[in-house]
């Protein structure tokens, strides 16, 4: 008994040696910063002078307005912009990814090349270079308008990027265009569906559409769910594209003011670090709630097969 305990202790100590870098990182670069930002979220702090405790004021300003300050309409607008971005771009992206994955699941000689080509937008899409390109694609004299006017004869085309009603949609298109990762995950999922399912249902006279709804969709539901949650979490944090396309302003008229862009502007533009920290915590809570809702609803929507 005693000897066993000694071995367990030695085993544990020996194992922790491997864990030390991660543990230091977790405490110093994740946990401590989280606690510190929670504290800062209850203060007014401009980084030059020590933080001043102001209680719930930062949170009040966001949603209701405090005694001293009116409600922050730009903040509420950034939530609205971000929600529209997330809940339009993610579903459209997943539908597109699944459709393409089904095309890519066909047995064709060049299929390897096709899969690689369809992944390229994802490979490059997160870069500043592509964001710069996007700005030119949708400018008033950009590529899209050049194509529309020279090939189709349209006139009086809008400057998509600098028009508040269209600017967000150019960013949604950019996000949907990067459908490569969910496509590859869907493809791997499609390849795991037993072929016999389709053969049996085809004997029973089911057509491709019926098969899609009766076999493909239910079999893929855990993967659809996984993709949805992961894409949602990352879409909430989008920054680079909105920053470059709007020139760092979130314009025109705050129409591309993503949540993280506003957080950046507040924290590092206006030096309102306390307010920015509060915004970070609100984002954390929103993401946590939405993830929890997704998991909860997955119980009814997702089938994990009868074997498990």
């Amino acid at each position: 008994m005693n000897r066993l305990n000694k071995r367990a202790v030695r085993d544990t100590l020996g194992s922790y040696v491997f864990l030390v870098p991660w543990l230091i990182g977790f405490f110093l670069l994740t946990l401590y910063p989280m606690c510190y930002s929670l504290y800062l979220s209850f203060t007014r702090f401009n980084i030059r002078t020590p933080p001043q405790w102001i209680g719930m004021a930062n949170y009040l300003v966001m949603f209701k307005g405090s005694a001293a300050l009116p409600r922050d309409e730009r903040f509420l607008n950034s939530i609205w912009v971000t929600f529209r971005f997330v809940f339009i771009s993610v579903p459209v992206k997943l539908v597109f990814a699944l459709t393409v994955a089904m095309l890519m699941n066909k047995k064709l000689r060049l299929i390897g090349l096709y899969r690689a080509l369809y992944y390229i937008p994802t490979l490059l899409g997160g870069s500043v270079a592509i964001a710069v390109l996007w700005r030119r694609l949708f400018a008033s004299d950009g590529l899209l308008n050049m194509i529309l006017s020279s090939l189709f004869g349209f006139t009086n085309l809008p400057a998509w990027i600098s028009n508040p009603s269209y600017a967000l949609y150019t960013l949604i298109i950019l996000a949907v265009w990067q459908f490569g990762s969910p496509m590859i995950i869907f493809l791997a999922g499609l390849q795991q569906i037993p072929r016999e399912y389709y053969e049996a249902s085809s004997v029973d006279g089911a057509g491709p559409i019926r098969q899609f709804f009766a076999i493909t969709l239910p079999s893929l539901s855990p993967i659809i769910f996984f993709n949805f949650v992961m894409q949602m979490i990352s879409a909430f944090q989008s920054f680079t594209q909105a920053f470059i396309v709007s020139g760092g302003s979130g314009g025109p008229l705050d129409s591309t003011m993503f949540y993280s862009l506003y957080l950046y502007i507040k924290g590092f533009g206006f030096s309102e670090m306390g307010y920015a920290a509060a915004m970070a915590w609100v984002l954390l809570i929103v993401i946590a709630i939405l993830t929890a809702i997704s998991f909860k609803s997955s119980g009814t929507l997702v089938s994990y097969g009868s074997g498990e």
């Binding site: 870098p21 690689a116 270079a129 970070a280």
Partner: protein, 282 residues
């Protein structure tokens, strides 16, 4: 006979459809590459990808950069940050992953759960305190705030990827090595590390590319042009240039995409593994 022919036609149409859709999707990128070889006055009048009178002027002018700092500096800085980050991340994530996947210790389940939670954590919660910490340490306008966290395996995504990979390896080899009196460090360096090379390559690859494109942290921490990376250099161009600079701007954008292209086409299967294993087995 007849059925065979309709199958052939079907397949041909399917191929054509996939190619047409693919070309449509890649058109903007191809146009960007083409535009970087066009004289500035033709960029915004030509829809076609192919430059009618190709020139290298844009590359020459762009490479000189803005002011005294050229794109050679930006590329050097980007490569430096990305290479160090990639290796540090691969080494330290794999040490952590080995502990989680193979070793027995008190508190393992708790720490593993903690690690999985950090996977979902939006980075914004730590952005501001980290900035304040690094500022106090005098690290602003150095590469340290970007590189140092990689030495502490802060990127849980890769720990998870490596844990999944190590769990898939057969255990007999490390069990017999243990019986032969091999230490944990010995098992890691002689057995686990060599067997996880494919997953380590995936980690190197993704860390390199994500660090290359990690505009947010570079924007926060790099403040003088001599320290700028490629994305920051492009942004500098964008801010300080009028219409006449689009040619050089496109040329440098094209250059900035080359490392990703090369890595992708030479190491394609590692990409698929990286995306698919974490997605499916999770």
């Amino acid at each position: 006979m007849k059925r065979k022919r309709t199958g052939l036609v079907k397949r041909l149409l399917l191929n054509l459809f996939i190619i047409a859709l693919g070309v449509g999707m890649l058109y903007p990128i191809l146009w960007l590459i083409g535009a970087s070889f066009k004289p500035s006055n033709q960029i915004f009048t030509e829809v076609s990808i192919w430059p009618s009178n190709p020139t290298l002027d844009n590359f020459k002018e762009g490479w000189r950069g803005i002011g005294i700092v050229g794109f050679d500096t930006f590329f050097k800085n980007s490569f430096f940050i990305c290479i160090i980050s990639a290796f540090a991340n691969a080494i330290f994530c794999s040490l952590t992953a080995y502990a989680f996947a193979r070793l027995k210790f008190v508190g393992k389940n708790v720490w593993f759960a903690v690690m999985m939670i950090t996977l979902m954590l939006p980075s914004h919660v730590t952005t501001i305190p980290r900035y304040i910490m690094f500022r106090r340490m005098g690290w602003i306008n150095t590469f340290l705030p970007i590189i140092v966290p990689k030495f502490f395996a802060t990127d849980a995504f890769f720990i998870f990827l490596l844990v999944q990979f190590i769990r898939g390896l057969p255990r007999d080899m490390d069990e017999s090595a243990t019986i032969d009196g091999c230490s944990k460090a010995g098992i890691y360096t002689r057995i686990i590390m060599p067997l996880t090379v494919p997953a380590l390559i995936t980690t190197l690859l993704f860390t390199f590319l994500w660090t290359w494109d990690d505009f947010f942290n570079q924007l926060l921490y790099l403040t003088s042009p001599t320290k700028y990376t490629v994305p920051m250099g492009l942004r500098l161009f964008l801010d300080s240039s009028g219409m006449s600079m689009w040619g050089p701007m496109f040329a440098m954008s094209t250059l900035s995409l080359i490392p990703a292209f090369i890595l992708f086409f030479s190491l394609q299967k590692y990409f698929v593994r990286g995306i698919a294993t974490t997605g499916i087995k999770g």
